[in-house]
């Protein structure tokens, strides 16, 4: 099979945060250090090779970046300072851009200015729209009940419409991911029944992040899990129980107990990640792409404004609560609209899918392989 080489692939990846890929001299230390490289998926060195050779078609169909959780041991062990861990991270960004059919993802990753501009634009539109809507049907001095500025029922509909659009966009990108990594590969055929049998892996990996916990270092997994579960709890509360959350001033503990826990989880983990990135306390905090900062800043801003409007509302300052509600939405909408299908949030779909696809692939490859060949047989090793 003829493969076209793209001599500018490394330059392209550098815009996504890759550094020092050319330094790699292929000793294989990183691969041997990684607890995840096994019989079928041997990484990260091979991806460094693809980059150096400019094999973007191979990279595009590569699931390996999604199998890496960036514990950073490979970068620490690297004798050349070639940063394989950061290379895998930037490849995830690059893949996100490749999967995205609109091209916006690539634009945002390559240019922080474009992303910031888009965030400001969406935020202003949201603010303007919600203010006009609120003024047209309610009073800014009323937070909930009759005549509310932003009644829970309307926001509920707005949320579901937005969720529908985002799921559609992300869904299309996921189908593209499947095509690049699985569908277009003629060598490995996976029967549809197998897809069904292993489907449970997607929610399983999504909810437990089991694989992350298999890294040698456990604390990044714990932090990530707390962040993810807090976020998920908040999402469920907002999508299904918004009227309970917003209704006041009495506190509905059946909903709010979860809300408070999730808010605390979000604030603590985002502040932890922010100060970790600032002080570079861990290997995976050594290099921060602009999108990492934007992501954390938005998340923190959204969490804090959400908490603030809750306090203001329960405290009886309904006007201020309404203003902060609009500000809160000016953070939430750009964060979700821009990050879920086009940027860092999209990994909530790509990662579990990556695990799912890689498991299917691994099974298919191992089944097809001659059992003699999979053992470290003597004959093949003599160079």
């Amino acid at each position: 099979m003829a493969i076209r080489a793209n001599p500018h692939l490394i330059d392209e990846l550098e815009k996504y945060g890759a550094q020092d890929v050319v330094k790699c001299y292929h000793c294989g230390n990183c691969t041997a250090t990684c607890p995840f490289s096994g019989e079928v998926f041997v990484f990260p060195r091979k991806s460094m090779r693809y980059l150096q050779l400019g094999l973007d078609v191979r990279l595009q169909g590569n699931l390996e970046p999604w199998l890496c959780y960036y514990c950073g041991e490979c970068s620490e062990e690297c004798p050349r300072g070639a940063e394989p861990g950061e290379t895998m991270m930037s490849m995830r960004r690059w893949l996100t851009a490749r999967y995205d059919f609109t091209g916006l993802s690539g634009l945002f990753y390559r240019s922080a200015k474009a992303e910031l501009l888009a965030i400001v634009l969406v935020a202003l539109l949201t603010g303007l729209g919600l203010t006009l809507f609120g003024l047209s049907q309610g009073s800014i001095d009323v937070y909930d009940g009759p005549g509310a500025f932003l009644p829970a029922s309307s926001i509920h509909i707005f949320d579901w419409v937005m969720a529908g659009v985002l799921v559609l966009l992300l869904g299309i990108n996921c189908v593209r991911m499947w095509w690049y990594t699985m569908g277009s590969d003629k060598e490995v055929r996976i029967p549809p029944l197998e897809y069904l049998k292993q489907l449970f892996l997607v929610p399983w990996h999504f909810l437990t992040q089991r694989r992350y916990s298999q890294c040698d270092r456990k604390s990044p997994w714990a932090i990530h899990l707390v962040l993810m579960l807090s976020y998920l709890t908040m999402l469920v509360l907002i999508m299904f129980f918004l009227h309970r959350v917003q209704h006041g001033p009495a506190i509905d503990w059946r909903a709010h107990a979860f809300g408070y826990a999730a808010a605390a989880g979000l604030v603590v983990t985002t502040i932890y990640a922010l100060q970790g990135r600032l002080r570079k306390t861990r290997p995976h905090y050594q290099h921060s792409h602009e999108t990492d900062w934007i992501f954390l800043a938005l998340l923190l801003m959204v969490s804090l404004t959400g908490i603030a409007q809750h306090i203001l509302h329960r405290g009886g300052w309904e006007t201020a609560a309404n203003v902060l509600y609009v500000v809160h939405m000016m953070g939430v909408v750009p964060m979700l609209v821009l990050e879920v299908p086009f940027s860092k949030w999209s990994h909530m779909a790509y990662r579990p899918l990556g695990m799912y696809f890689s498991t299917l692939r691994e099974k298919a490859v191992l089944a097809a392989e001659d059992p003699e060949k999979s053992r470290p047989a003597a004959a093949a090793q003599t160079a």
């Binding site: 001299y25 292929h26 000793c27 294989g28 230390n29 990183c30 691969t31 041997a32 250090t33 490289s37 096994g38 019989e39 041997v42 060195r45 091979k46 062990e77 004798p79 050349r80 300072g81 470290p376 003597a378 093949a380 090793q381 003599t382 160079a383």
Partner: protein
């Protein structure tokens, strides 16, 4: 920690005819020390021979976390070790984990080919892990050529550790007034045109004090030094190549020879090896 991970010098001693086992290659076994009443790991002539031996290249060399330079001799002595293992234990399997095989001397490449013919498994890719498990040692590395992880039990691991300047070399340099480089090796005047001369005209360098090199290179360099010294003795003078010695260094030398002022430039600090 892992008794059967041996450094190159330990293995050299083990396989030597005048070594602890008379040259038999055996794994370390525990023995009770009668005096201290403690179990210790020793080489016992009757201990079992290793069934598999792995040799790891570039240990501490070509690594920015340790020594950035190539130690030059390890590839060849590792091949020699493999040859010795195969010669003394024909039934043992022997693996070489290497990054690049630097068999650059006369006849060296042929030796490498011969080792492969002897049945040594040559794995392109440095191993990164040796683990002790209840049932023995396990080595893990990437086989780059065949794109797979190699993970299998071994009885003995030999580390081709790189070369570092001897302890005290830095002090010797300071006594002699020869400048050591960043890695601690003595610097020559000019690597290409005056590889034995130093900034102290009458002092020459030869061998590993100047940088890692093998025996033939050391002999060649030492022969050159002998010739230079003889030339000095016969002519009764020390020739200093003015173009090679920078004026600052020449002035410093003159001052030193006159026994007046010490060095002007700060002396390079001793490299710290981890």
């Amino acid at each position: 920690m892992l008794p059967n991970v041996l450094s190159a010098l330990e293995f050299e001693r083990l396989t030597n005819a005048s070594g602890p086992t008379g040259g038999r290659i055996v794994t370390r076994s525990t023995q009770r020390n009668r005096r201290t009443k403690e179990e210790e790991w020793v080489f016992d002539t009757d201990a079992p021979a290793p069934r598999s031996v792995a040799i790891i290249h570039c240990v501490g060399s070509r690594d920015q976390n340790h020594n950035p330079y190539c130690s030059r001799v390890c590839c060849m002595y590792s091949l020699k070790f493999a040859h010795l293992v195969k010669e003394k234990l024909p039934d043992a399997t022997c693996y070489q984990f290497y990054i690049d095989m630097r068999a650059f001397g006369k006849g060296y490449e042929e030796f490498f080919e011969r080792i492969k013919d002897e049945g040594v498994f040559v794995v392109r890719g440095r191993s990164a892990r040796v683990e002790a498990r209840p049932d023995g040692m396990v080595i893990r590395g990437e086989d780059i050529v065949h794109d797979r992880i190699m993970e299998f039990p071994v009885d003995m691991v030999l580390l081709a550790a790189g070369l570092e300047p001897a302890r005290g070399a830095h002090r010797l340099a300071s006594v002699l007034g020869i400048r050591p480089d960043d890695d601690g090796w003595f610097t020559e005047l000019n690597y290409n045109t005056d590889p034995t001369g130093t900034n102290r005209g009458a002092i020459h360098v030869a061998g590993v004090c100047q940088g890692p090199k093998d025996i033939p290179d050391t002999v060649a360099q030492a022969s050159a030094v002998a010739a230079r010294v003889l030339g000095s003795v016969i002519s009764g003078s020390v020739r200093i190549d003015r173009e090679s010695v920078s004026s600052a260094e020449a002035a410093a030398n003159a001052a030193r020879l006159a026994g007046t002022s010490p060095r002007e430039e700060p002396w390079p600090s001793e490299p710290t090896h981890t």
